[in-house]
Symmetry: C2
DNA sequence: TATTGTTATACTCTATAACTATA
DNA sequence: TATAGTTATAGAGTATAACAATA
């Protein structure tokens, strides 16, 4: 691997922490640019994968169902997502993106992807592929692959 | 590089996003275990590097000075950190850890380090070093190295 | 009884604007 | 005037507990 000359004296744990901070900051900055909070942006992106129930969204966000109510109240007030009845179950609600919500989600998602790709622009193609594979390995070992997210 | 068989079909941008989510979640879980919010935990860890002024902390957290007041009010109420006068400047305050705060910060920091190292446990030593160097390269290219954090 | 979603309440974190005191 | 920090106010996000309606 082609080592950057000043790319040392940083252990992996600190690197992960700092990298996380950078990505979080980037996500927050792009959210703001799209007039979204990071949580609202994430909500829209999850819904890009198709309609979801409230409980399903709560589980996927790792929050209580009650938190989703407020989240969706705000998303709905802004015309980005909607709650609608589910034919087979009169308790349940189905959350879907509005057209505006889908446009916002797509635009946001594109910008985040660009920014993240720019982040790894400095790596050589071989290093980039190593890095990608390492992340995939880490993720596959720590996520049991349960859930709709 | 030794490729995991199921470590594919994940692009680098998604990987970064998911890795960030995993690290955030891990950080939040450990914070909770130590009866800290993630932000309070981060505050203590920054103070482990030595006393800081309020404005300095605000800049380092990327928040307004007013937000630090509330943050420190809560940290002080819990006996984790203290504000004290600065000899040369009667406007300024110096924030330091209490003994309890230092113990909490150290214990938290240790646990986070362990968890993060466990995260990359599955990588071979060579892959781990590649990964570490790649992160260092990314970080050195995106942080101008300004600031006390 | 269990599940879906909501309401009520309280707390943390954050921004903005206006303020005090000091430099 | 500029800087350090605070107060007041508002809003987002979250948890807990209690509730309603449906399964």
């Amino acid at each position: 691997m082609e080592m950057g000359v000043d790319a040392d004296q940083l252990d992996a744990a600190s690197g992960l922490l700092q990298l996380t901070t950078v990505v979080q900051g980037l996500y927050a900055r792009i959210s703001e640019r799209h007039e979204l909070t990071p949580v609202q942006a994430r909500l829209l992106c999850v819904l890009l994968g198709g309609p979801k129930g409230m409980a399903e969204l709560a589980q996927c966000f790792g929050v209580e169902r009650a938190a989703l109510t407020g989240l969706m109240d705000r998303a709905e007030k802004r015309g980005l997502a909607e709650r609608s009845a589910v034919p087979g179950d009169r308790r349940a609600l189905q959350v879907t993106l509005t057209d505006a919500g889908r446009r916002a989600a797509t635009a946001f998602h594109t910008d985040v992807g660009e920014a993240l790709n720019k982040l790894i622009d400095g790596l050589s193609p071989a290093d980039r592929e190593h890095f990608r594979a390492a992340m995939a390995g880490i993720l596959s070992s720590c996520r049991s692959g349960h859930g709709p997210c």
